[in-house]
């Protein structure tokens, strides 16, 4: 593929608002997980909640979009000058030449969960102030974003569970290659809600501790919330001259389906393996040219076992890898976006972030799992995102110049 340039990017999660705080948390090995005190949830679990989300006020003309997910989206857009960068891109390309591709799994479903507590006792009707289209509907976060910026080009939400905001890069790539747009706002936003907390609990996949990816004693995930965005533009000609050495490029994408089970991965990680191999092929790279893998690493028994086997099959045991979900929690539809930004930070700052909370590596998984931060030159990284329904996506990012 022709590489794409992540000209601006930002992430907001429980480990920090924006890049500086996120990088600081990674360097200090600071996790954002805390005992769940969200809403009325009565589960013994840890969550990665973003502080201050409900204090965010949407602009008056977009008041219909007001819900936790869009508040978190706006909080994310406000960091690192990202909104300003989008406005500059509009001036450069035109509002109709910039696409919006955002991933979310649950969008503003919390708004509906809350509305169902306030149904009319006689008629059963939802309260009059409930607005489905701009809050609950899966498209709401992309619709909010395009209205916030006045973008008039193609816009869509990708909602394939936990691969959503990795797969947005693929949709944006195709649309840019087709010539319909010149730039794309991509990313993911997912916020805490009862559906996912009680849902993962029903499957026995929620840990009662901060999650421990790839640990021998791992016993489930910790749910988090996050907003992550990147502005994708075509890589200029002669990037070595026209971009700074630490500019981050999207080099390859691999996607696959397990065709196996709705809520369990293929036991040997067959689909995951295909996604990683296809990403390498698209990037024209050998496995040995990848310096770090940001694992999906949810800390469920089945995900980590399947992913570990798939990584070992493609890369062997020597490529450094870790899951950053011990820090952020599993941010579901935002995870691919958050971890793309963490990969970008790894490339720019020469940091392989340690996986947190992992005490004893699962001896069945023969990998170079990073337990302590490593500072070293990083040229190319791969990020895995897998989801319910057997949906897999691997992304490869690299620096424009040598580290």
């Amino acid at each position: 593929m022709n590489s794409l340039w992540l000209s601006h990017f930002t992430a907001t999660s429980s480990i920090g608002l924006g890049l500086d705080q996120t990088l600081g948390a990674l360097r200090q090995r600071r996790a954002g997980l805390a005992q769940c005190a969200f809403d009325t949830v009565d589960l013994a679990t840890f969550v990665g909640e973003v502080a201050g989300v409900d204090a965010v006020q949407l602009p008056a003309h977009l008041a219909d979009f007001d819900c936790r997910n869009n508040r978190l989206a706006l909080l994310g857009l406000m960091q690192d000058g990202f909104a300003k960068a989008v406005r500059a891109a509009i001036a450069k390309y035109g509002a109709q030449r910039i696409g919006v591709f955002l991933g979310t799994s649950t969008s503003g479903i919390l708004q509906t969960e809350l509305a169902y507590r306030r149904r009319d006792p006689v008629s059963g009707a939802l309260p009059a102030d409930f607005i489905y289209r701009t809050t609950h509907n899966t498209f709401s976060v992309a619709d909010f974003t395009r209205h916030y910026f006045g973008l008039t080009g193609p816009a869509v939400v990708v909602s394939s569970a936990c691969s959503s905001s990795a797969k947005v890069f693929s949709s944006a790539r195709r649309m840019m290659a087709a010539g319909l747009i010149d730039a794309a706002v991509v990313g993911g936003v997912d916020s805490l809600c009862l559906t996912t907390l009680y849902g993962f609990n029903s499957l026995g996949l929620i840990s009662d501790q901060p999650c421990r990816p790839f640990d021998a004693q791992r016993n489930g995930l910790s749910i988090g919330e996050a907003a992550a965005f990147a502005l994708l533009e075509r890589t200029p000609e002669h990037p070595e001259k026209n971009l700074s050495a630490d500019a981050v490029l999207l080099l390859g994408i691999g996607e696959s389906s397990d065709a196996y089970h709705m809520s369990s991965p293929h036991p040997d990680g067959l689909g995951a393996r295909m996604a990683m191999q296809d990403a390498l092929k698209m990037a024209g790279l050998q496995p040995s040219e990848i310096d770090y893998i940001n694992l999906h690493g949810t800390a469920t028994q089945s995900n980590d076992a399947a992913e570990g086997k798939a990584v070992a099959a493609v890369f062997g045991p020597t490529t450094p890898c870790s899951s950053t979900k011990g820090a952020t929690g599993h941010t579901l539809g935002a995870a691919g976006g958050v971890e793309a930004v963490i990969c970008a930070l790894a490339l720019q700052h020469g940091l392989l972030p340690a996986g947190l909370n992992t005490r004893q590596l699962d001896p069945a998984l023969d990998l170079d799992y990073v337990l302590d931060n490593r500072e070293q030159p990083v040229a190319r990284v791969l990020s895995n995102s897998f989801g319910f329904g057997g949906t897999n996506c691997s992304l490869i990012f690299g620096r424009a110049g040598n580290p």
């Binding site: 509906t112 498209f139 869509v156 949709s171 065709a259 809520s263 295909m274």
Partner: protein, 268 residues
């Protein structure tokens, strides 16, 4: 405004299911007006291709997706196992969403595992890959009322950029009350299209798509036009009508408030 970029692909197969429309084969006569449109309730076939356990757990969106997708694949004479796919739906499984919200508002919040895994927007995509054995990529999209257009653009870019056949599955199902009042989708409706990057013996029509400021075409039949307006996936009906009429023509499909899709249809 420069709106000159066009995307061209070939329609090789079509699936159709909705109120009063029992399939592409029988639905063509209704779309061209040679048979009257009688909008009785959508009949969803049991998904025979799924293993028994999955079949029991499958809701309306899964049955609708499988029925329309398999009809399109059969028309094209292809094996679904080798095809990438695009699923586009405004809201996924409405009945399941209601059941979860009702339980979460009650004293007993212990929703079942099946309820939960059916709550993801990509449920139909997951069942589709299990039923067909397709391990290629699937894009799972929502764009509210623009979902058909968003799905068509995604499928076209797959065909054109990645030079592959692909199947678009645009399906919507209704919510029960009280969500129905907030999102009044009246019935289950789906369109599936197999698109190919090159002309073949199976090609039914060449479509060339671009973004446009023009207004979306309306359907002459009052009841069909009501259907087009009421269900996002039915925004694709003017395209199917043009192919059924077997005439080269230009149709404009509803998409976003800011832009629509112009489709030049040339019969093969």
């Amino acid at each position: 405004m420069t709106l000159t970029t066009t995307l061209t692909a070939y329609v090789e197969g079509i699936g159709l299911l909705g109120p009063g429309l029992a399939g592409w084969t029988s639905g063509q006569a209704v779309l061209v007006g040679s048979q009257p449109y009688q909008p009785h309730k959508t009949v969803l076939p049991s998904p025979a291709l799924l293993p028994a356990a999955e079949r029991r757990r499958s809701g309306a969106i899964v049955k609708l997706t499988l029925a329309t997708g398999l009809e399109a694949i059969a028309t094209a004479g292809l094996d679904a196992a080798g095809l990438p796919s695009v699923f586009s739906s405004s809201g996924g499984d409405g009945e399941n969403c209601h059941a979860i919200c009702e339980m979460l508002a009650s004293d007993d919040r212990q929703i079942s595992p099946t309820r939960f895994h059916n709550s993801v927007h990509n449920t139909a995509a997951g069942y589709w890959s299990i039923a067909t054995g397709a391990m290629a990529t699937s894009s799972v999209l929502s764009a509210f009322d623009a979902s058909f257009g968003a799905g068509l653009l995604e499928a076209l870019t797959q065909a054109v950029v990645d030079n592959t056949r692909t199947v678009l599955l645009a399906c919507d199902t209704p919510y029960p009350e009280p969500l129905y009042r907030a999102r009044p989708i009246p019935d289950a409706f789906g369109i599936a299209l197999v698109l190919a990057p090159q002309r073949s013996a199976q090609s039914l029509a060449q479509i060339t798509v671009s973004l446009t400021d023009a207004d979306a075409d309306r359907l002459d039949d009052v009841a069909l036009e009501a259907l087009r307006i009421a269900i996002p996936a039915a925004r694709g009906l003017p395209l199917l009508r043009a192919i059924a009429l077997r005439q080269d023509q230009r149709v404009v499909l509803g998409y976003l408030d800011s832009t629509r899709l112009a489709v030049e249809v040339a019969l093969c």
